[in-house]
Symmetry: C2
Subunit: 344 residues, 2 copies
DNA sequence: AATTAGCACTCTCAGCTCGAGAGTGCTAAT
DNA sequence: ATTAGCACTCTCGAGCTGAGAGTGCTAATT
């Protein structure tokens, strides 16, 4: 496969730029006109033909302008895109919003989704941070009525799991509290396997509770990703490529099928370092439903400890510069917030 | 305003029925053919004209069939619709799913949204139960690192609020635990106002904590509705009336604007008894975006204590019988589950 | 050897017509 | 009160058309 010449690279950039603006195929003459190029449309046509043969461009039909292909976009994103920093003003506004929010994780995540959706004019998705290694941090048992007990289990990392269950007998709050205290003393930082090995001298009630704890930890371990926050779904409906409801449906259906989403968000990262932004263009051959779409994703949080994923979904014709910057910025912001408030 | 004759009522039912099936205007001849009516199409035409004058029907254009108006649907729903029980098999399946789920509120709510969406082939919405009277149930303070503390606050009703905050000094877990114990002893069942009046002898740390508690309770009081679960948004995209993305956008935008949604879910209920299903047809003149849509809503939970809202959003042309039954059934199911697991 | 002007050709798109089909309203007969 | 009959209306899809945009090729130019 031949290399693109410098001029071809410039042309590709311009074509991508023009196409993201107009959403229409771009022709040789338009290009000259728009960007006052010092070469003629005929030359551009020749270059375009060459680039089409190499697979970077595509003609929707004979005698229409050219549109970037998946390959074209991919080359553009990895080689030609200079990534603008978000303007300081924008960054300040966003940061400010985050520090305004009640110091609460769910608010932050909601806000992150909202910011992403608005700044990239796309659908956004944010998953709550979730730790791979599930470990016991703190337990609380609260008697509610009769033999019913509310268990609140805090895991290392800060995840909170709750469950209501019934005991075989009525147990006083005092007994529950002392049981909780005992378990808190012994189980500190235990993983599930460590917990299994632990030889505790417990009565029936204690064993029941321990069982429930293990259940919850098992559930948490099985969880691939945390709770999901979305926003801006209507943004993608507004894009012209989704004027046909069919397309829109297939794009948005990804967001509604939990297992596909799990798959997408986890499989998309081979090297999953924090801070790296991944761009998935046109479903990358794997996700048929996303053939028309691009996803920009990033992990955030604390490497190997507590991580979540966030990103946006939009049409393949997307302002990648702006979008990538926004995703990166919000990811870093959330990473900082998570680090500041980490529960060890 | 004249009354509809018996025959007109029957005709209205048939028109609604036919139209929900075909999504097209229904003509006099079609009606006779489909339902083997013992009257001629001419008679039906006369009746239709009459009903159009009374405002129950509408012609999309001259020489097209008739379509029910908002008023037509409203009359149909309140006077003509016999509400089928959900088939026993269906009910069992649903109930079974609920009892399968891990005994966890969030799972139930997610499931409820999913069941509603699938059974009514519409978009569904479920809000977490939320109590109007916010009262203290239980407090937990967990030292995380340095002077940082994780507070877990359980409110009467079972709502759990958490916050991470920093103290001015480093405080041991033991001291935090005894502070929590003290507050737990004194604040049991206190509302925010009662809490304000309470004259507790607390040190600086204690006062900080109390402040955070009050903040959280204030936030909870200000909350109109609980957390929101949605599902089946793509279902409405599949409906022919939303083939035009414009329409779909305006319908779904309701779901994305939190304050509009708050407004909608709270204002829609004047008498808000549990178990009553409300049907909002065509936005009822108030919600412009919903002009094409119908909403079927119900409260669930425990009257005046802990209530949530659930329902579905679909096109005005909706299988009301099925939809209403489903909403009612799921609402009752959730009410039962909430009652069984109430935290007093 | 690269670039460009010129030109014939192709394809879409919006607007148009047109006939079939479905449905209506009215009138006169039952 | 109901209905048969009929002229009339409106939509919808198919087919046509001309304008516009864009291409590819060739021959001339630098």
């Amino acid at each position: 496969m031949e290399e693109l010449t410098e001029r071809q690279k410039i042309l590709l950039s311009l074509i991508v730029h023009e196409h993201t603006q107009t959403a229409k195929p771009v022709g040789s003459a338009t290009l000259v006109r728009q960007y006052s190029l010092p070469i003629s449309s005929a030359t551009i046509r020749n270059e375009m033909t060459a680039m089409e043969e190499m697979g970077y461009l595509r003609q929707p039909h004979t005698s229409a302008g050219r549109v970037p292909t998946e390959k074209g976009y991919r080359f553009f994103v990895s080689n030609l895109l200079q990534q603008p920093m978000l303007p300081v003003a924008t960054r300040n506004t966003i940061t400010h919003q985050f520090y305004q929010a009640q110091q609460q994780l769910d608010e932050w995540l909601r806000l992150a989704a909202s910011v992403l959706a608005n700044h990239a004019q796309a659908a956004s998705i944010v998953t709550a941070p979730h730790s791979k290694k599930v470990a016991f941090k703190h337990l609380e048992l609260i008697s509610t009525r009769a033999s019913q007990v509310l268990m609140v289990l805090v895991l290392v990392g800060g995840e909170i799991r709750q469950q209501i269950f019934s005991l075989d007998e009525i147990v006083s709050q005092e007994k529950l509290s002392s049981l909780a205290a005992e378990l808190n003393a012994h189980c500190q930082n235990c993983t599930l396997t460590q917990l299994e090995k632990l030889d505790l001298d417990l009565d029936d009630v204690g064993n029941t509770v321990l069982g429930v704890i293990k259940d919850q930890m098992r559930l948490s371990e099985r969880l691939v990703i945390g709770e999901i926050y979305m926003d801006g779904l209507t943004n993608v409906l507004a894009e012209p490529e989704f004027a046909d409801t069919e397309q829109a449906l297939s794009a948005l259906s990804i967001f509604e099928e939990r297992n596909k989403l799990d798959d997408l968000l986890s499989r998309s990262f081979l090297g999953d370092e924090i801070g790296g932004v991944q761009v998935l263009i046109g479903g990358e051959g794997t996700w048929e439903e996303l053939r028309q779409c691009s996803l920009i994703l990033s992990h955030y949080g604390i490497q190997d400890q507590l991580t979540g994923t966030l990103g946006i979904l939009g049409p393949m014709r997307m302002p990648y510069g702006q979008a990538i910057s926004t995703v990166r910025f919000v990811a870093n912001l959330l990473s900082d917030l998570v680090a500041e408030n980490l529960i060890e």
